[in-house]
Symmetry: C3
Subunit: 154 residues, 3 copies
C-alpha cells in the first residue's frame, strides 16, 4: 500500500498545490528535511473563515484541519515527486484561530494528525504542537506547518 493507495481508499484526490498569497515559497528542502510553509484551511477553494469557540464548532475545526492536511500532502507531493519518498512526517505546528476560552485545540489538530497517520502509516507518526492564536491570515480558522524527512532520491 502506497500513500496514494491509501488516499484512494479514503476517497481523497490531491488538489493542485496552493500558491502562496505572498512573498514566500510553499516549501524548502534542506538535507533530508522538507520544511512546508503554513497552509491555511480552505473550503471549496476559499479560506475557511471563523474562530473556534465563536462561529465554529470543534467538529468543524477538526474537518478544517483535515482539509489542511490534504493541501499539505499536495505540497509534499510537489516537493518530492512521490509521497513514497517521505520517510517520516517529523512535526506539525497546528495554529487554531480561537477565542481566549477555547481549549480543545487537540481535538481540532487531530483532524490533520489522524489523516496523516492513515495515509503514511508508521511513517506518519509525528511530533506536534497545537496552540490557540488570536487570528490567522485571511481569517482562516486553522493553519498548519509541517516538517517531513525524505529519502535522498526525492
Amino acid at each position: 500500500m502506497t500513500p496514494y493507495d491509501r488516499l484512494k481508499a479514503l476517497g481523497i484526490t490531491l488538489p493542485e498545490p496552493v500558491a502562496p498569497v505572498a512573498a514566500f515559497v510553499p516549501f524548502v528542502r534542506t538535507g533530508n528535511l522538507v520544511f512546508v510553509s503554513g497552509h491555511i484551511a480552505r473550503k471549496d477553494g476559499k479560506p475557511w473563515r471563523g474562530q473556534l469557540g465563536a462561529e465554529l464548532t470543534p467538529e468543524e475545526g477538526r474537518d478544517a484541519a483535515r482539509n489542511v492536511a490534504i493541501d499539505l500532502m499536495a505540497t509534499l507531493h510537489a516537493a518530492t515527486g512521490d509521497l513514497g519518498r517521505v520517510t517520516r512526517i517529523v512535526k506539525l505546528l497546528v495554529l487554531v484561530n480561537c477565542t481566549s476560552v477555547f481549549t480543545e485545540q487537540p481535538k481540532v489538530a487531530d483532524g490533520a494528525s489522524t489523516l496523516i497517520r492513515e495515509v503514511f502509516g508508521a511513517a506518519g507518526e509525528h511530533a506536534r504542537s497545537a496552540v490557540g492564536v488570536a487570528q490567522l491570515p485571511l481569517g482562516s480558522c486553522v493553519e498548519i506547518e509541517l516538517i517531513a524527512e525524505v529519502r535522498d532520491g526525492a
Copy 2:
C-alpha cells in the same frame, strides 16, 4: 557532572514521560535532531490552568515553565536513553497563555531556559522564541516545544 548529577543536586526526579492526549507521538528523531512535541504545564499531575495577566502572576508562570522543562527532559531521557547523549539543546518555542496586555513572556520562559542551562551546562545554551497566545490545550498556562541535537549512538 552528568545531567543526572545536576538534576539530583537540584532535587529533581524526572517523572514518567507524559503520554500525548491526542493522535501524535511525544518525539521524533531525524538524523541527529530530536523534535519534541509541545508539552503543557502540569502541577500535581494535572494541567496547570490559567492565563498570565489574569489568574496567574509572572512568578507562577515561571514556575509552570520550569515544570514543563522537567517534563521535556523526561521525554528527552526516553528519546535518548541517556541525557548525556544530548549534545545541544537547539531551540525552545515557548507559548504563554496570556491576556492581550501581558508582555512578560521572557520572564515566564526563563523558568524553562534557566533550568535547562543548569542541567546541561554549555550544551544547554539554546535559541528561543517566546510568544503570548490566546489559549492552550486543556487551558494550560504554558506550552513548550523543543529541538535537541543528539549523538549518533543515542
Copy 3:
C-alpha cells in the same frame, strides 16, 4: 553581487546584533542549519510597540517586520562571519501582535520576506508561516524566528 553589495545598494547598514533580553542565546548551529532566536521589532533601538488592528496600520507592521529582518541578518552575519556562506533561508515564523479581527498577517510578514529575497536572491526564497498572536515580549508588534542553511565553512 554579494549580500553585502545588495544591502549597500539598499542603503542598509547592519547594526550590532541585539543581545537577548533573557536566558537564551541569539542563535544555535547544528549541522548545516542555524536556528535564529525570535527577534522582536525595534525602532530607534527600542521595542516597536503596539498591536496591529489597534495602534498600528498594516503598513507600519510591514515596516516593523522589515526592521526585524535587518536585525536577523545582523545575527546571521555574527553566526556565519560571512552572509555569503548562507546557502538558503529555509523558513521564517512571523508572529504578529494583533487584535482578534486583524487578518493581514501576510502583508505584515512580507516586509521581512521581500527584503530577505532582495538581499539573498534565489537563496532567499523561503518557506514561511505568519500568525496573529495575543501579545509579544516587551509589547513589540512583530517577532520573527528564522532557520538558515549554511555552508560547511561557515
